[in-house]
């Protein structure tokens, strides 16, 4: 098996080299580099993921206009895993073995990523994952271009604590892995900062929850003690709209009890009645409203591509923008799309992000990003009220959970491990 794979690799290398030498002369199936796009185009997640599919098509289109990659044209292979987690794994296998894609850009929910992970590791391919997530993972084959908890949740809490002087905390989330892990990290972090357990309220609700009356009433009671209270929300998707509506109806304004959300971006706001949301906060690594020439160009390009001047850009789109361009740079550096070579070449690659900084791929397969906190305006955009003065390096394993504190991820020699215990000096081999 290994021999076979090596032979394949040599063949691919040879093909790449020869095509380089021959220029665009060889006209056969090997003429294009295939890029897999694994985003749900139907089902519940289609709302968010369809946009990312279009973003990828736009980026690939643009790269082709610039002359492609390694002298070949790029070709997008789009599949629809239909918001069905096991289907993500099947489609990933199909992309790698049948379509022979050079890399995959995809997934949104953590559970879909976890489903793809074994396949991508077994077949040794590459996945770029563009969404903010709960951390506690670093795979040799996955590059995490979204925010790790220390690039979103922790700075958000710092902002509330230092700038808004918040003393009481409501951690509200949807009941699944991302909110649960994030809240576990946040709870440990708050306690380490001297917040008493009585001043923390944790609440979980099912997906698509719409009856928020009693939970919002509880939050109101919790926040009426005179101490400044804030809600840290990891509530996902649809459930946010009735949540904010109920907050507005029960008279909880952003000035009294601000809500900081990690999953509400421009795209989500565009389908909402924003009246009850004005003044509430969100923490991201990118806002459409950030005023840089690069961002303005990107927004214009997106509107032109999608042929709709009202469409918005958001954080995961920027993540794909950075991730795709980093991959392009790494492939050019390695001179091949071979996964092993690209995995090695991409570490340390830098590419300017849209908010004016230079993001870098780190040895733990996460990237450095700025953290921005914005207030929601009535036009569905954010006004940045706070931002980190330099980029923050993504941390795969949280320093605030006792179990993962001694663990680091480093995919460069000599460690080459996604789960390396600095105390026992051992690599567990389990990357997730």
């Amino acid at each position: 098996m290994k021999l076979l794979r090596n032979t394949f690799r040599k063949l691919a290398l040879g093909a790449a080299l020869s095509s380089l030498l021959l220029g665009g002369q060889a006209a056969n199936a090997e003429d294009t580099i295939k890029v897999g796009v694994l985003h749900s185009l139907s089902g519940t997640m289609a709302i968010s993921e369809t946009t990312l599919k279009d973003t990828m098509l736009m980026l690939i289109d643009e790269q082709n206009k610039k002359g492609g990659l390694l002298g070949k044209k790029l070709e997008a292979v789009v599949v629809d895993p239909a918001s069905n987690w096991p289907l993500f794994a099947e489609k990933a296998r199909e992309l790698i073995t049948k379509d022979k894609v050079a890399s995959i850009f995809g997934c949104w929910t953590s559970v879909s990523r976890k489903s793809v992970l074994p396949v991508i590791e077994e077949l040794n391919s590459i996945l770029f994952y563009p969404v903010q997530y709960e951390g506690e993972e670093s795979s040799k084959n996955v590059f995490y271009t979204g925010a790790a908890p220390n690039q979103q949740a922790i700075p958000a809490v710092d902002y509330l604590m230092n700038d808004l002087k918040v003393q009481r905390w409501v951690l509200a989330g949807t009941d699944y892995v991302y909110p649960r892990t994030t809240n576990k990290i946040l709870e440990a972090y708050l306690k380490s900062k001297g917040v008493k357990p009585a001043d923390i309220m944790i609440n979980y609700t099912p997906f698509g929850h719409s009856d928020w009356q009693s939970i919002v009433a509880d939050i109101k009671k919790f926040g009426s003690t005179g101490k400044k209270t804030a809600v840290v929300s990891t509530i996902n998707g649809d459930a946010n709209i009735p949540f904010y509506k109920e907050l507005g109806n029960q008279g909880i304004s952003a000035e009294k009890i601000p809500v900081i959300a990690f999953s509400v971006g421009e795209e989500e706001l565009s389908g909402m009645d924003t009246k009850p949301l004005v003044g509430h906060l969100a923490a991201w690594n990118y806002f459409m409203s950030v005023d840089t020439t690069k961002n303005a160009a990107f927004i214009q390009q997106w509107k032109d591509y999608i042929k709709n001047p009202k469409r918005v850009t958001n954080d995961p789109m920027e993540a794909h923008y950075i991730g795709f361009n980093m991959w392009v740079k790494a492939v050019e550096k390695a001179g091949t799309t071979d996964p092993d070579a690209v995995q090695k070449a991409i570490i340390g690659v830098e590419y300017p992000n849209l908010t004016g900084g230079m993001s870098k791929m780190l040895p733990n397969h996460h990237i450095s990003k700025p953290v921005l906190i914005g207030e929601i305006q009535d036009d569905g955009q954010f006004v940045t009220v706070w931002q980190t003065n330099k980029l923050v390096d993504g941390d795969a394993w949280s320093d605030f959970l006792p179990d993962s504190k001694p663990i680091i991820a480093d995919w460069t020699a000599p460690i080459s491990c996604g789960n390396y215990n600095t105390k026992t000096k051992k690599c567990s081999g389990q990357n997730y």
Binding site: S42, T44, A46, I47, T50, D175, N203, Y204, T205, P206, G208, H209, S210, D211, Q213, S214, I215, A217, D218, S224, T225, G226, D238, I241, P242, K245, E246, G248, N249, Q250, G251, A254, E255, P258, S270, G271, M272, D273, K275, P276, G279, E375, Q377, D378, D379, V383, V385
Partner: protein, 554 residues
């Protein structure tokens, strides 16, 4: 364009701002003074700061502008988000959106200026801190308004975020105030301050006067009196005051508990109303006709989308659009329902499994149709003004308007349906066919037509329920799926074929859910209710109110 003199004024103003804290005390006096030339110059630079400055500079500018009551309109424009920066001329303007762009006018004089495109003006943005400052500044200016309603709002705004300056301001205002309600509000606020007074008598008097008020502020103040500091000493040294505070707190807490119970009942009833609304149509199609209609949820979804379309047609009359949506949604859903019945279900009577599968297919078809027509994204349905906010009875009890209206709406729909079944010819025929189909046909009732009408009626009511749902949940292709299980649950629990059973079951499940929720959490509460129903159905398979008689037994 900035002239040299105004630049100098800007520099001078900068000096003034550094001394602002000291000046703050004088602010009160300033309000009563007529605008002086020097002030007017400050205002000019403040406007410039408001236009181009950072958030911190804007805050200073608002405070400067707040010293002159002539600026009230400008500040209100800013608060409403209508103040824009006219980039080409470098000045602040009031902008009213129209079809092509913005109609500009002067924010102070109201004089009509140019009409510009969208990109020509930039909105002056605010953050939470600025909004707070702005509200307070406006309140200070409005305290002398002739309209008592505005004065009351001003007093409440000042009392919400009280500081020494506001206390002095309100104390002075009390002497000249004539409105009784405003006087009470100010007095309450001043009494709250008296709890921290250095005089023991004043503290005791304040507690005595406040102990009958249902106010969260009072609770917090009293609670602070009986708390201990880090060394275990009481913060309030005097034990008399402490005991009084404690006794008052116990009483208030008792009242709070009663209000909390009331609130839970209301929450339960309003959740129940949603359940009843979504189940009541099913109670007819499933309960009376015996058709397992898996597309029932999608009929509700159609009702919700009808509301969306109506609001798109008349965007300036949201409330009217919502009310008009009720008959429209009934019509749309009823027509689709009749089409489903005539096209599919009538071939499948007596074959429940096939009906279930066929209607499930219909539900997928409807979902995808909506996805293709309206996009898979959720649509935003606005809530009219009179349905937002809450009915604030006191600090511990407030009922949200949207839920309140839905509760009433649910009861209205239920009564109307009951009347239709009891008093109309269609109702009579429906009941006759439900009781004994063969006999009804023998008596000359066109059962096929009655079946179609009954199914249309049930579907139409599902559409009406969709209008109500559009006000509290997301309008998207998946809306129906979220409610279909609950609907079946309510109908089965209440007793198939019994409308009253559906009503009682909906309300009791709603209340049970809300009583459990604080202890068990939203997820577990739902599971517990489901487990209860499973056990209940084991014991009484025909639900709460089973139909009796020979026809029902078979």
């Amino acid at each position: 364009m900035m002239t040299t003199t105004s630049t100098q004024a800007g520099i001078r103003a900068g000096g003034v701002f550094k001394r602002l804290p000291k000046l703050a005390g004088c602010l009160l006096a300033m309000i009563f003074l007529a605008a002086q030339p020097a002030l007017a110059q400050d205002a000019g630079s403040a406007l410039e700061q408001l236009r181009t400055g950072s958030m911190a500079e804007r805050e200073q500018a608002i405070e400067t502008l707040g010293s002159d009551s002539n600026n009230l309109k400008l500040l209100q424009t800013l608060q409403d988000g209508k103040l824009f920066d006219f980039k080409a001329e470098g000045k602040l303007v009031f902008a009213q959106e129209n079809a092509t762009g913005y109609q500009l006018s002067d924010p102070l004089s109201g004089a009509v200026l140019a009409e510009v495109e969208r990109g020509a003006v930039g909105k002056i943005s605010l953050n939470n801190k600025l909004r707070g400052v702005l509200r307070k500044t406006i309140a200070q200016l409005q305290l002398n308004d002739t309209d008592p309603v505005l004065r009351l709002i001003a007093v409440q705004a000042l009392a919400n975020d009280i500081d020494d300056k506001a206390v002095i301001l309100l104390r002075d205002h009390l002497a000249s105030e004539t409105d009784a309600e405003i006087k009470t509000a100010i007095n309450k606020m001043l009494l709250l301050q008296d709890i921290n007074s250095p005089e023991k008598d004043q503290r005791i008097a304040a507690i005595a006067a406040l102990k009958d008020l249902d106010s969260q502020d009072v609770v917090n103040k009293l609670q602070a009196l009986i708390e201990k500091d880090g060394d275990g000493n009481f913060l309030e040294a005097d034990s008399d005051v402490r005991n009084l505070a404690e006794a008052a707190l116990i009483k208030i807490r008792d009242r709070m508990q009663a209000y909390a119970a009331l609130e839970t009942v209301f929450f339960g009833l309003s959740l129940g109303a949603v359940l009843v609304l979504s189940a009541i149509g099913l109670a007819i199609t499933f309960g009376v006709m015996g058709v397992i209609n898996m597309a029932h949820g999608e009929l509700m979804m159609l009702g919700a989308y009808t509301t969306y379309v109506m609001q798109q047609i008349m965007p300036n009359y949201l409330g009217t659009a919502l009310i008009l949506s009720i008959p429209m949604a009934f019509l749309v859903a009823a027509l689709v329902g009749i089409a489903i019945e005539r096209g599919i279900i009538r071939f499948l009577y007596g074959r429940p499994l096939e009906t279930l599968l066929a209607t499930f297919g219909v539900s997928l078809f409807l979902q995808q149709a909506v996805r293709s027509i309206f996009s898979p994204l959720n649509r935003s349905v606005s809530t009219p003004e009179w349905m937002s906010g809450s009915w604030q009875i006191n600090d511990f009890l407030s009922l949200t308007w949207n839920r309140f209206y839905i509760l009433i709406f649910c009861l209205l729909v239920f009564t109307a349906l009951l009347q239709i079944l009891k008093r109309t010819k269609l109702g009579l025929e429906v009941r006759a066919v439900a009781q004994n189909r063969g006999m009804a046909r023998a008596m000359g009732i066109p059962t096929a037509r009655v079946d179609a009408m009954t199914f249309g009626l049930g579907s139409g009511i599902a559409g009406v329920a969709g209008v109500a749902l559009s006000q509290i949940t997301n309008v998207g292709p998946n809306l129906g799926q979220a409610y279909i299980v609950d609907s079946f649950m309510v109908v089965v629990f209440g007793g198939v074929g019994n409308l009253f059973g559906t009503l009682v079951a909906g309300f009791s499940l709603g209340i049970a859910n809300k009583v459990l929720e604080p202890y068990a959490g939203a997820v577990l509460a739902k599971i517990l209710v489901l487990v209860f129903i499973i056990l209940f159905i084991q014991k009484k398979p025909r639900g709460l109110f089973p139909q009796k008689g020979r026809a029902a037994e078979s």
